[in-house]
Amino acid sequence: MIVVKEYETMLEAYGKAGGNSDALKNKEIGNLVIHKNRVLSTNEVKGINVETEETETGVNIYFLVEEGAKIKYPVHLCFGVLPQEGLQEITIKINAQANSEINVIAHCIFPNAINVIHKMDAAIKIGNNAKFCYQETHYHGESGGVKVLPKAKIWVGKKGVWQSTFTLIEGCVGVLDYDFEIFGDEKSINELLVKVFGKKEDDIKIVEKIHLDGREARGLAKSRLVLNDNAKAVVMGETYGNAPFARGHVDCLEIVNGKGVIAKAIPLVYVKNEQAKVTHEAAIGSIDKKQMQTLMARGLSEEEAVDVIVRGILK
């Protein structure tokens, strides 16, 4: 009974945060809903095996995508802490076996956080020729009282694909320490994208590391940040070209829009094979004046123009 009530409360919070709660009720769509350290719902679909283990402070998850399985609909993961205080530690081991394909959408909800810590430690193995697309979207309240600490190590097999997007643009970030590291084998595609809207006193650290270890591996470490008020951010995008014909790119854009903002970008490109190539671009600056003028010449006010540009960058 308590689980049912918690589950309904989570769905309600998820819906209020802008998520589609129908997707979590649909039996054809795989899902896993966790509140603090309690597993409230799991729905496995054919080709996926999910095992969970509740711990004192979180949940251990073992997530298997079977060899050759092509999962039709995106699988939804929903993690949250609804009270003002709490600790949630998620440890997740993912094994996407060879030739499998899956899209996973993770929603992390902390609408009332005053003192909440959400940790995620992930070890992810993408098999040969497997494709794994992972989108993680956060919904935070306005108090900024949440620490989000997502860490992942990802191994991508031959011709495997990893594409992930981490989005935190709703509510105040609080403290974010994001650290994803990928090791890509031959002809693998390895892409990391982070989009964050920092405001008030938010403190943001982003580390994106891509090791292109296999011949013809491809990598993109991309980040888009908009910082208002007194928000601080440091972005470290690192790509290592370790094999022949490996190609990588680091792309960081930070828009600063507040007198107290501090923004840093530290790209690192490293090549230890003469046939590899890694490039980078990093830009920090205020909102582009000509973009503003163009939008204002279409009749938008200054505030509306800023809003269109910021929403576009974080889209």
Partner: protein
């Protein structure tokens, strides 16, 4: 409809706009012809409110707008398409066309057709760096068309354009005239003003002549190409 009177502007001690007068009539395509560096873009910026003159006035439908902001002028019905349109990350062409007013899908499609872009191919594409220069210019023109402005200032819509894109650009400008917009068509090429109703010659920050396109083009060929002012520093960015 739009009148520029005795406009003066000095930058870094140098006169870049010197007692300039110009009148744009309702519904006309008015060519503004001049070699590089004569102050055409500076004038466009002054009319749009991107910069302000030291002296003189700009009136629109009888109202003095000299000190109005860009947004205020745009809300009155004045707009500008830049020589090099900017690119927007995360904004689709459909969204870009709808910035000025709410369009239904049919309207959005029709404006793309007017500039020779297939809506099926372009409407949901991003208005970003993946568009070529010619495509971006055509999208910019479509967005001006979508705004249905009373006055559209088009800054060198024909420059840097391939021979396939050019007729579509010219068609878009003609459509603008048909829908009742006055157009200030800025160019440094005689062929660029062939579709104009009247043409003004600009030289060293002044309008030196206004008349019929054929007459002005001939005058431009005979005089401006050998003019002493060619090669002077450009005033763009003023």
């Amino acid at each position: 409809m739009l009148e520029v009177k005795s406009l003066k502007l000095t930058l870094n001690g140098k006169s870049v706009m010197d007692n300039l007068n110009l009148e744009i009539r309702r519904g006309e395509i008015h060519g503004l012809l001049g070699v590089n560096g004569t102050g055409k873009t500076t004038l466009a910026n002054l009319i749009m409110g991107i910069s302000y003159p030291d002296e003189g006035s700009i009136t629109f439908e009888g109202q003095d707008i000299t000190q109005c902001t860009i947004s205020q002028r745009a809300k009155m019905g004045i707009t500008l398409a830049w020589q090099e349109p900017v690119r927007f990350e995360g904004l689709s062409i459909r969204e870009y066309l709808k910035l000025s007013r709410n369009l239904d899908s049919n309207e959005s499609e029709s404006y793309l057709w007017m500039v020779g872009l297939s809506p099926a191919e372009y409407l949901n594409r991003a208005a970003d760096a993946y568009l070529s220069g010619g495509e971006r210019k055509r999208v910019e023109l479509a967005s001006v068309l979508a705004m249905k402005p009373k006055v559209a200032i088009l800054d060198e819509p024909d420059s840097g354009i391939d021979i396939i894109s050019l007729p579509h650009i010219m068609n878009g400008i003609t459509e603008m005239g048909k829908q009742g917009s006055a157009v200030l068509l800025i160019t440094h090429s005689e062929t660029g003003v062939e579709i104009a109703n009247r043409v003004s010659e600009m030289c060293a920050g002044k309008i030196i002549n206004t008349g019929a396109p054929e007459e002005m083009c001939q005058w431009f060929k005979n005089n401006c190409r050998t003019c002493d002012h060619i090669g002077e520093p450009a005033y763009e960015g003023a």
